[in-house]
Symmetry: C2
Subunit: 307 residues, 2 copies
């Protein structure tokens, strides 16, 4: 099965305590596709300006990414600039220049309309909803959002949330969206808004999946030095959705496996600027990382004092 992603293509300026890069390929749709393309065909929907160098994403075409939905408009490609603090978690946004992204109206090519797996990256919730109106009965729809939309467009977000199966957020966003101080009470409250599946990203602390009434906790890999966390969340989503689409299975056990695949992919992303590391993987790299992750959480209960 193929996966459709709608999101941003961008040029980022990223500073970390170790290094900086003035113009780095970024954007949620880019990070997502780079990861998902290892697992399945990806139908990408995004917009770039006429300053965009298409050679920068030639590597996506060599993977399994269909670019029919990438439009070029007159103007500048979306730019984001940020600086990470010493802990490599907190960051300040230095600038956001929307450019052609400001007037982005995703229109799906005819060939995309039967996509079964859909990822709505972090854009205006009304646009996310517009995408869903253009597809025929998808099997599994996941949505990412952020505090900006949760507080700025709560009604639009609530409308769109009714139509999605899975919400991908971080722990702060769960609390903000639900109005609960308890993460776990908040998660259940969000289920009542629509999505029966929640993925709560906690960065270095891993992630939590709530599916129906069961939790799954997936650790993050022990990375000695995070180099650039930009795009890790979308890379995670790419691994997660790509694996689901590849296996075409959304049962509880497979969702857990997909979370593990997403976690492994995200661990590569933080090791370099942009998708520099993620785009150059071999199958054995991914399998090795997954095997490490499996060992990280392994408990042998053969001799355990439990029923």
């Amino acid at each position: 099965m193929s996966v459709l992603v709608v999101g941003s293509m961008a040029y980022d300026a990223v500073e970390t305590p170790f290094d900086k890069r003035e113009k780095s390929l970024g954007g949620s749709a880019m990070y997502f596709s780079t990861a998902a393309g290892y697992f399945t065909d990806v139908n990408l929907v995004a917009v770039v300006g006429d300053d965009f160098l298409h050679t920068d994403i030639a590597f996506l075409k060599e993977k399994r990414v269909n670019m029919d939905g990438l439009t070029t408009e007159k103007g500048s490609t979306f730019r984001w600039g940020g600086r990470y603090l010493e802990n490599m978690v907190d960051r300040e946004t230095l600038f956001t220049e929307l450019g052609v992204f400001e007037a982005f109206k995703p229109v799906l090519p005819e060939s995309y309309r039967n996509s079964d797996y859909i990822f709505l990256a972090n854009i205006h919730p009304t646009l996310q909803g517009e995408v869903l109106k253009q597809v025929n009965q998808p099997k599994f729809v996941a949505l990412d959002t952020m505090n900006f939309w949760i507080t700025g467009t709560p009604n639009e977000l609530a409308e769109t949330l009714k139509m999605v199966d899975c919400l991908v957020v971080n722990d702060e966003e769960v609390k903000l969206l639900s109005g609960e101080t308890s993460l776990f009470r908040g998660a259940k409250k969000i289920q009542a808004m629509g999505p029966q599946t929640l993925i709560i990203k906690k960065g270095e602390h891993g992630s939590i999946l709530l599916h129906e009434d069961k939790y799954f906790s997936c650790p993050a890999l022990p990375i000695e030095q995070v180099f650039d966390p930009t795009g890790a969340g979308d890379t995670f989503a790419g691994g997660f959705m790509g694996y689901l689409a590849m296996t075409d299975n959304i049962d509880a056990d497979n969702l857990r496996r997909a979370i593990c695949v997403g976690t492994a992919m995200a661990s590569f992303c933080v090791e370099a600027f942009s998708a520099d590391r993620t785009r150059a993987l071999e199958e054995k790299d991914i399998k090795e990382r997954l095997a490490l992750l499996m060992d990280l959480g392994r408990v042998s209960t053969d001799n355990m004092w439990i029923v």
Copy 2:
């Protein structure tokens, strides 16, 4: 096998956003023993003042806790007062009255000297070292400490660390003790100081075990409402050490199982003030909680795309 614990007995005054209690039984040795006593015989070393009501710990005697090492001195029992903030993680200390704890010099009863499993709760590192000089070749020694000793008595702590197998700390303490901003680089640096086993407690985010060159990540149970986190770390240590002593096995797999037992015990501790919940458990409660924890981290790899 029995486990020996040296630490504090205290009366705490605890305030949370939900409730408060003026005089609550506390202290690291109390929390530790309450949990460890479900698994093995516990030899307790602590001091209380002549204001201490021994009926408050009658429940410990009914478990498997040997009180020969509990001395009563003229003066006040150690008192600590604290207030938890809305997130139930951050807290302010309102007062600390050391009382008889200030002149605490742990002396081990003869019957304790062959203890194989030893837990040195968070006290002055020189006192922790004095305890080790009084025991005959223990099998496994674990030590807890805090920022106060890491910055205040670094040389004394370094001396004692050379004699222990396992250090139990939180993530901030790893960074402080190692001088590293990376948790995982810091952990390895601490191994070079002595302990080959490190347990990094991350509260709601679970814990990480570093044993020799392998990491194990254990999630925390999804608690919808933490009621009082006081003592959770010592309760964790009690479950961990109690299980190790019961099974008398310190191999890599059993350390992982012990971490799970500690995690399950800590999850009870936060559900009520003091050890109110932890002291009243039945074996089936613990087994049920452990089964929940096992399911929380479970990944079925039968059909997974990994080697």
